[in-house]
């Protein structure tokens, strides 16, 4: 069982979250392949697909056209982001009944530290089963849970047996359960990294941990180093307390590309979309940020972060995206392709605390605020994708 004395961390991952909610709302979709799409039929991408669709080889992030070729009978539904957010909040409330150490990492995933909740009874597996059944009973959705001694291993464990899985990955089980698997099962290994590793003759997790740190560092830099130590079970990052989350210091959105890109128009479009997500999230939390940071990881894994502050806290999409775009190192992007882009908002301040009045009223900003308000209203009624920025439409090329 658990290696006694250590931590017990759960990673809860909702199964095909958006698709499952659609099937819950629309009984006629149950048992059928469902694609939840972003953008139109011709140029959009699949954000989530049901397990029935996955059986046909459909995957998230795939162009809708390709998905429909693989699975012509699939039902395509537009996403209803606001409904998904409400489900996410309800699920989190269930988690918080079990432990205050709940750290959501996205809309459909969270880490829970249940170390303190365990005595002689219940055992980790009992508690995880209880969480699964309460989520099922109260929210109507299934999830997969990974149980381990740290966050990294718990996340791998939850992915080993989906959907509706419950998997342990204790220290004593790593040799048997993890080492023989492909490096693709490791968090942070996508097709690009997989290729780099394959060129080194590294195919399984076992190959990775047996390779010298210097060899890996020379090809993948710090990212590689981190990958290897994580695969060895070295991750003592804590699960944050819900109180910490409420007093959140920053928020960010990132996008890793399946194929590295350098098209400036495309990069601008991705930045706009990331900024849009950030701006909506700030508005939902009624927060403004005073610093915007752009993170760029190049194809050689070199990573830079550049930030800039504004004199007044802002939640304005235009301000955030403009700053982020100006921070993009155009010269480097020409010579080096981009693997990941991220936009972070920090120095968060409650907008209600923004009390300094201005001498100059910018009529442009007033108009923009009114337009933003209308967009948010439409989105809250018809879903996030009901209105999108024209500048983000080019995005489908990025996939």
């Amino acid at each position: 069982m658990d290696d006694s004395g250590g931590r017990v961390i759960l990673h809860v991952d909702m199964d095909a979250f958006y698709a499952q909610i659609e099937q819950l709302h629309h009984p006629e979709l149950r048992g059928k392949p469902v694609l939840v799409g972003l953008g139109d039929r011709r140029r959009g991408v699949v954000t989530t697909c049901s397990y029935e669709a996955r059986a046909f080889g459909v995957r998230s992030g795939m162009p809708i056209g390709t998905a429909l070729q693989l699975c012509p009978q699939a039902e395509l539904v537009p996403g209803a982001m606001d409904a998904y957010v409400r489900y996410s909040e309800r699920i989190r409330a269930v988690f918080e009944r079990f432990t205050p150490f709940v750290e959501p990492t996205s809309i459909d995933e969270a880490f829970l530290d249940i170390t303190d909740r365990l005595g002689v009874h219940p055992q980790p597996l009992d508690l995880a089963r209880q969480i699964k059944s309460e989520v099922r009973r109260e929210v109507g959705l299934t999830c997969s849970i990974g149980i381990s001694f740290n966050k990294y291993m718990a996340k791998i464990a939850s992915g080993l047996n989906k959907p509706d899985g419950l998997t342990t990955l204790w220290q004593s089980e790593i040799a048997e359960k993890l080492m023989p698997l492909s490096v693709r099962c490791l968090i942070g290994v996508g097709p690009a990294t997989e290729t780099v590793l394959a060129n080194l003759g590294i195919y399984t997790v076992n190959d990775l941990v047996k390779t010298s740190i210097n060899t890996i560092r020379s090809k993948l830099g710090q990212v590689g180093e981190h990958l290897r130590s994580s695969a060895l079970g070295e991750d003592d990052s804590p699960v944050r307390h819900i109180k910490e989350l409420r007093e959140e210091k920053s928020m960010s959105h990132e996008q890793t590309f399946e194929h590295d890109i350098s098209d400036p128009e495309l990069l601008d479009s991705v930045i706009l979309q990331l900024a849009d997500m950030l701006s909506s999230r700030l508005k939902r939390r009624r927060l403004g940020c005073r610093t915007v940071t752009l993170k760029v990881r190049f194809s050689d894994f070199a990573t830079i972060s550049r930030g800039r502050s504004t004199s007044e806290p802002t939640d304005d999409l235009n301000v955030i995206s403009e700053i982020a775009r100006e921070l993009l190192p155009r010269e480097s992007v020409c010579s080096n392709r981009v693997r990941l882009l991220g936009v972070r908002a920090s120095q968060l301040i409650k907008m209600a605390d923004r009390t300094q009045m201005s001498l100059f009223v910018d009529p442009e900003e007033t108009r923009r605020r009114a337009a933003d308000g209308a967009v948010n209203l439409i989105r809250s009624k018809y879903g996030r994708e009901a209105v999108v920025r024209a500048g983000t439409l080019i995005r489908s090329k990025a996939k």
């Binding site: 004199s311 009390t355 300094q356 001498l359 100059f360």
Partner: protein, 369 residues
């Protein structure tokens, strides 16, 4: 290149040009100082590409030539020398610094790799009293915006077109405007937006013996001469916002208060103000001004009452204490006037004795209880 100079004199020259050396730069050459020895004098120059400072001393070198050397290294060495005669010699890529007993060798970068700096065209120079210039800069530069999203506000506006020479700066929350009679500069240039770094560099160099400074107005840049030092600077692009439009003319409430007393009280009370907003509430009543602040994080509260002259109805208005302090430090008079209209509109602040044409605007903080 070879010349000799007193170490203390050389240090003085180095410290003048250090003002233009950037703290951090992607171009290593900008961390260097250019030393150019010509028959008519030795010139030291530094630039961050936004401003450049050059200073010349009338010494005939033993051998002419030029080289650049890391600013920090040479300054550190010269600073540590006793005040003795120092010999500076250089070939194309190495500088030697020697006294009778000490000897240093530092590698340099060839002078032709240093950015070409604009020449000071003495023929176009206009001279103005250095005191006027210093005063205008001091009284406006504090209100310059540091927010890069509106670049025009990052500089001080200098207008010389009309009968009045005007300097204005604002960050959108407060504004400072000073006007002086304009005789010599009238009509010489369009509105200019000057980086504060250049203005501060000029005022720092003005000493009692410099009664006048020289100014050369260019299209894209401006140059100043203080004695044997020249400072050139890029200009920011406009347009500058229409500041006249936001200066209220019909504020009907007048609060008159002793400046030093108010400044001291604001400083004290603001210790317990909100650390983000620095809000100090002014409760203004008949001849009585109450300042108050609260800081929830510290569980703190502060109040202080001051006598004042005020005849209108009672009013509560919130201000950022730092903005009030900045303004009160620049108004030169015993009493200061606040002309107010409402808790949500700009207040006009000026010296009660009106000996100078100087006003500041301050926008309130919205009071939330």
């Amino acid at each position: 290149m070879k010349f000799q100079m007193a170490a203390s004199k050389l240090l003085e020259l180095l410290q003048i040009v250090l003002g233009a050396v950037p703290g951090k730069s992607p171009l290593p050459i900008l961390g260097n100082i250019l030393i150019d020895a010509k028959d008519n004098g030795i010139t030291l120059s530094a630039t961050d590409l936004e401003i450049a400072i050059c200073t010349t001393i009338d010494i005939k070198p033993d051998k002419t030539g030029a080289i650049t050397v890391q600013a920090k290294t040479i300054t550190d060495i010269i600073r540590e020398l006793p005040d003795t005669n120092v010999t500076i010699a250089a070939d194309s890529n190495r500088v030697e610094i020697a006294t009778k007993t000490a000897h240093f060798k530092v590698s340099g970068i060839a002078a032709d790799e240093f950015p070409r700096l604009a020449e000071y065209t003495a023929a176009k120079e206009i001279r103005m009293p250095s005191e006027d210039f210093s005063k205008m800069v001091r009284k406006t530069v504090f209100a310059v915006s540091t927010d890069e999203s509106r670049p025009a506000l990052n500089g001080v506006l200098w207008q010389t077109a009309g009968d009045k020479m005007i300097m204005v700066s604002t960050d959108g929350h407060r504004l400072a405007k000073i006007s002086l009679d304009n005789r010599k500069l009238r009509g010489v240039a369009d509105d200019l937006i000057i980086p504060p770094k250049a203005l501060s560099a000029v005022t720092r160099l003005i000493s009692d013996k410099e009664k006048e400074i020289g100014v050369v107005f260019g299209e894209k840049n401006i140059m100043f001469r203080i004695g044997s030092t020249t400072i050139s600077s890029k200009l920011f692009e406009g347009p500058y916002p229409n500041f006249d439009q936001v200066i209220p003319t019909d504020n009907d409430k007048r609060l008159i208060v002793r400046r030093q007393d108010l400044l001291a009280a604001v400083r004290r009370v603001s210790i317990l103000s909100n650390s983000l907003t620095h809000q100090v509430k002014f409760t203004i009543d008949k001849n009585k001004l109450l300042l108050s602040a609260t800081n929830v994080d510290l569980g703190g509260e502060a109040r202080e009452e001051l006598p004042c002259e005020y005849k209108s109805e009672k009013m509560d208005v919130g201000y950022n204490a730092s903005y009030i302090e900045d303004i009160l430090k620049q108004v030169d008079s015993e009493e200061v006037v606040f002309e107010l209209a409402s808790p949500v509109s700009a207040g006009v602040v000026y010296a009660a004795d009106r000996t100078e044409d100087y006003i500041c605007l301050i926008m309130p903080l919205r009071l939330v209880d």
